[in-house]
């Protein structure tokens, strides 16, 4: 087991290296450090000297890939690419182009992101499974057909409409919750109700449909028929046989997104001004703060890799037939 995990971790290294190279190419082809400096220094009274200063301060005053002015290994190490990538691999994200330490910001902002994303996922899961079970229970009845149509309708509405609508009716017209904002600790609760509610609601359509197919697949399997033939009632077969078995794909599907919950939801957070990582990323994109975007890309990839690893492990835990090799 440990060996397997170590092997997987080693396998993820070239993966992250690839991500790093790709993002480096993308970001430094797009914007030269000069552009960044000018962007950050603002409009008024910018001169060549101040740009050079800025570049020096942020470590952009080196060549991109090959430093011919240096000796020996320094030819490679005294470059933007080397300096910036090594930092990423050690999780030292450095200073953002606007001058704040990225690592400290990420640490601080991960929690609000999680506070929105985790309840959304859990409640969403619960609600979706409930409805999906109900539809399976009443399969081939008008209830199921109605349910499917409703799901498709819910799916066909852009998530933006859910957010705009929810904020407008619940926040503005009914005045039930603060329209946006965030607070520390338990006080955050009242700010979380609406985003979580909308998050759950906008996921119902696709979620229920997906779980329904999972359950239906199980329901048609032989062991379920046997159970039914044994004289178990429909509900008993559903809860004792179908649900536990269908939990495997559900669980693994959840595990893979768990680490990514830290990244937060881009749109939800910016609509409700929740100071999470999603919001952070959008700001960085809009302000073209590439140091942050690069850090977030790398972080996202790392979390994804961890998610894959967790999935594999959880497979073995829930399904004894799967062996790690």
């Amino acid at each position: 087991m440990t060996q397997y995990i170590i092997r997987r971790l080693l396998y993820s290294l070239p993966l992250l290296m690839g991500v790093n190279i790709l993002t480096f190419v993308l970001f430094f082809v797009v914007n030269s450090p000069d552009d960044m400096a000018r962007m950050q220094l603002g409009q008024k009274h910018v001169t060549g000297q101040s740009i050079a200063n800025w570049k020096q301060q942020h470590g952009y005053d080196m060549p991109l890939l090959w430093n011919s002015d240096r000796e020996g290994t320094k030819k490679v190490t005294d470059t933007i690419f080397y300096q910036k990538s090594v930092g990423l691999f050690l999780f030292r994200f450095g200073v953002s182009d606007s001058g704040r330490n990225i690592g400290a910001d990420i640490k601080e902002r991960a929690w609000p992101s999680l506070a929105v994303a985790l309840p959304t996922l859990l409640i969403g899961l619960l609600v979706n499974i409930c409805f999906a079970l109900m539809m399976v229970l009443f399969r081939n009845s008008y209830l199921e057909h109605g349910g499917i149509v409703l799901c498709v309708i819910l799916m066909s509405i852009s998530s933006l409409f859910y957010i705009i609508g929810g904020q407008f009716f619940i926040g503005k017209v009914l005045r039930l919750v603060p329209i946006s904002g965030y607070d520390d600790g338990l006080a955050a609760l009242k700010f979380l109700i609406l985003p979580v509610l909308i998050g759950v609601f906008s996921g119902i359509g696709s979620g229920v449909r997906w779980y329904r197919t999972l359950f239906l697949e199980e329901v048609e399997k032989d062991y379920v028929r046997t159970a039914r033939a044994k004289g178990l009632s429909e509900t008993q077969t559903l809860f004792q046989h179908v649900l536990p078995n269908a939990m495997i794909p559900i669980l693994t599907g959840v595990v893979v997104v768990l680490p990514l919950l830290f990244m937060g939801s881009l749109i939800m957070e910016s609509f409700f001004s929740i100071p999470g990582l999603g919001n952070y990323t959008i700001d960085a994109i809009n302000m073209q703060d590439f140091a942050i975007v690069r850090a977030m890309v790398f972080l996202g990839s790392v979390l994804y890799v961890i998610g894959l690893l967790l999935t594999d492990i959880s497979y073995t835990l829930v399904d004894p037939r799967v062996r790690l090799s």
């Binding site: 000018r38 330490n101 009914l174 005045r175 946006s180 904002g181 952070y280």
Partner: protein
């Protein structure tokens, strides 16, 4: 694992209790929900702040973009000034109430003593000609007894050493914010602190945006800058700079080159606030920057407020500075101030508000809604909420709509000292150059681009169309006859934009009859460069296209990101662009220098974005620049206006009007475009606010119950079907 557990729990419940229990469970949930709602209903459910803040004198403001710098040597944008002007105190400030704007002492005892010197640094008498003046001395004396805010950088231990100036690694590692350094100290403000700050401005590592400008004015600034280039920030303390010296504990002198009357305005900007050397000594310790503990985030000043919490990701909190020196509310103002109640607090000690909370608010909808709900005390008006807020009265003035008046909301308007214009790149082959053809083309476009319509569509009338470079309220503007004769005409006692036919005539004279380019025999194509990449800009772009279409010109929008745009401007590849300028200080020089030849963007990297060059204009500018206000200066300004209007390097756009809405409980508010430190003057009637909020924010529950009921109704057929099936299987 928890998931499995949960679902098995659920399954247990389901198959032991059957559907009836499910319904019961649902009703329990609803009951619990409604109960908790009722419990909360005594307060306001939608209150975004803790309930116990209700009765305190806290002002709620917002910021939309996190300020990048809080270091007064670096900060140079209005969103940064909104904070640091409350914290740092330059020697002078603008009078809060008086108009036209007037510089008055803040920490200084009186206005500076201005001494003119000749080449040999000898004092000159009154009435010498400007050419004899080689240097000017500003001697400033500050009040005694002013103290810095309590701050760890100033904390001393019992032995009299600075507590936190030699931090060990472990301590830095453990710290997460400035508040982890619990001991604080303070000391008296001295003239040396002002001198220290001027030295900081010169240090290349600080990257002050005005360093380049100050090189031209302050004596020895450039040399000092070179001298400390490779030294740490803290080194400037012991090195002398020629142009700034402290004469005594409370007196210092700044020596500038030549005569520069506008320098007094600089002295009222945060750049020239005092900075204790201890601040750099403290913050410069390696490791602190990694924790975001820097002077850029945790300021140290003498002002009425101090930064208590700085979380640019969410909110910033300013608290009243307990050591703030005595300053009182001004006792005189404009004639109508008395009647408006702006002098009710005259003579009372400042500040009135104990705490200011700035919340991050990026979306306009929540912001505006919260303002209407009473959770923000003041608000600007975005163009889209305008109809709701403002209506025009019969005489063309503006007033609040009745719904806002009912809430006791008040409105203030003022024309800002800024100018938005559409610039032509004068280096461009088509629109640029001093040829008659290009000039006529520019004049034609000036007529065609109907900025009155722009103001009415996009600004809801919140602006005045510009007649020249200078906005109203700046010296040299002739309010009565100052129309731009190339674009406007005087008709029926009103200024009116010339008819489009006049523009078409000009086009024909320029060789583009009907907008056809003689070279291609097709419509003339012009390029409009902009950074506008967002959807909100689209209507505006369409509008610009429409304006050019009137002349048969096809306008191509080249939208790119900010960096590319800047680069285009710098290399002179832009053709037509829109640009704005916010006055640093209320003087015509600060506007005309935008067209001064030697300031050209392409050649010198200056602020003359359209690269305009006219020798006569440049000559007049050099003459006007250092003159004191008076008849001769006024005449030169008029000449310069005439030259620029004729050459039309800009389509003079508009000067925006600031509309400020604020609730009735927010007192002592007067628009002041130059003073940024106005928070200390304002006051809040907390009792009134609490009452209004309660009144406006009672939640509405019945739709919730309705939705719940509908959901239960929808469940009934399911339950029935289940029962039927259940019975079926049992049988």
């Amino acid at each position: 694992m928890t998931l499995l557990l949960m679902s098995s729990l659920l399954s247990m419940k389901m198959h032991t209790c059957k559907a009836r229990v499910l319904v019961m469970m649902l009703s329990v949930i609803f009951w619990a929900a409604s109960y908790s709602c009722a419990a909360w209903a005594s307060g306001q459910l939608n209150n975004p702040y803790p309930d116990d803040e209700q009765e305190q004198a806290i002002l709620y403001e917002s910021f939309s973009e996190r300020p990048k710098h809080m270091d007064p040597a670096v900060a140079y944008s209005s969103n940064e000034y909104a904070f640091i002007s409350q914290i740092y105190e330059p020697p002078f400030q603008y009078h809060y109430l008086k108009r036209p704007y007037q510089v008055v002492p803040l920490t200084a005892i009186r206005m500076p003593e201005v001494i003119y010197l000749n080449q040999k640094s000898e004092k000159l008498g009154q009435g010498v000609s400007d050419s004899d003046i080689a240097f000017t001395d500003y001697v400033i004396e500050i009040q005694s007894g002013i103290r810095f805010q309590p701050h760890p950088a100033l904390a001393k231990n019992i032995q009299g050493f600075y507590e936190y100036h030699q931090l060990d690694k472990a301590k830095i590692e453990a710290a997460t914010s400035l508040n982890d350094f619990t001991t604080t100290g303070s000391r008296e403000l001295t003239a040396e602190d002002y001198v220290y700050q001027i030295k900081r401005l010169a240090h290349p590592k600080i990257q002050s945006p005005i360093a380049e400008i100050m090189k031209n004015y302050i004596v020895g600034f450039d040399d000092f800058s070179k001298q400390v280039k490779d030294k740490p920030k803290t080194a400037v303390r012991d090195l002398p700079i020629e142009g700034a010296t402290s004469l005594s504990r409370y007196q210092y002198r700044i020596r500038i080159k030549g005569k520069y009357p506008q320098f007094i305005y600089w002295l009222a900007m945060p750049f020239f606030s005092p900075m204790p050397w201890e601040a750099d000594a403290f913050y410069d310790q390696s490791g602190l920057a990694d924790k975001n503990i820097t002077l850029d985030w945790f300021p140290l000043g003498t002002g009425p407020y101090l930064m208590a919490e700085n979380n640019p990701n969410r909110r910033m909190i300013l608290l009243k500075n307990p050591l703030f020196h005595v300053e009182t509310y001004p006792t005189e103002g404009e004639s109508e101030d008395q009647q408006k109640g702006l002098l009710a607090d005259a003579g009372k000690p400042l500040p009135f508000i104990d705490k200011v909370v700035f919340m991050l608010e990026k979306e306009t909808i929540p912001y505006w809604t919260k303002f209407l709900q009473g959770y923000y005390d003041a608000s600007g008006i975005s163009s889209d909420s305008f109809d709701q807020a403002i209506q025009f009265t019969g005489s063309g003035g503006v007033a609040l709509t009745s719904s806002l008046l009912e809430k006791g909301i008040q409105l203030q308007t003022s024309v800002t000292t800024s100018s938005f214009y559409m610039g032509f790149n004068m280096l461009d082959a088509t629109v640029g150059g001093a040829t008659e053809q290009a000039r006529k083309l520019r004049q034609a476009i000036s007529i065609a681009v109907d900025y009155e319509e722009f103001i009415s569509i996009f600004m809801n009338g919140r602006g005045v169309a510009a007649q020249g470079v200078l906005p109203p309220g700046i010296y040299g503007v002739d309010d009565k006859a100052g129309i731009n004769p190339y674009v406007y005409e005087w008709l029926n006692g009103k200024t009116q934009r010339k008819k489009i036919d006049a523009a078409r005539q000009l086009m024909a004279e320029a060789g583009y009859a009907g907008g056809i380019d003689p070279k291609t025999k097709e419509a003339l194509i012009l390029y409009f460069d902009t950074t506008g990449a967002s959807v909100d800009d689209r209507p505006r772009m369409n509008w610009y296209r429409k304006q050019f279409e009137k002349l048969g010109i096809k306008l191509v929008i080249r939208a790119t990101d900010y960096n590319r745009f800047q680069e285009k401007m710098r290399t002179g590849n832009a053709q037509i662009f829109v640009w704005g300028w916010n006055a640093d200080y209320p003087d015509p020089e600060n506007f005309f220098f935008l067209l001064y030849g030697p300031n050209s963007k392409v050649q010198r990297g200056g602020e003359n974005a359209s690269n305009y060059q006219n020798p006569e204009f440049d000559r007049l500018f050099e003459q006007m620049r250092n003159m004191d206000n008076g008849e001769p200066r006024y005449r030169i300004i008029q000449q310069m206006q005439e030259i620029v209007r004729r050459d039309a390097p800009w389509v003079f756009g508009f000067h925006p009007k600031d509309f400020l809405l604020f609730h009735g409980w927010y007192k002592n508010l007067k628009p002041n475009l130059m003073a940024n430190n106005r928070l200390k003057y304002t006051r809040i009637d907390t009792a009134d606010r609490a009452e209004k909020r309660q009144q406006w924010n009672s939640p509405i529950f019945w739709p919730l119950a309705l939705v719940g009921g509908m959901f239960v109704l929808m469940l009934i057929p399911a339950v029935n079907a289940y029962r039927r099936r259940f019975r079926g299987t049992k049988l």
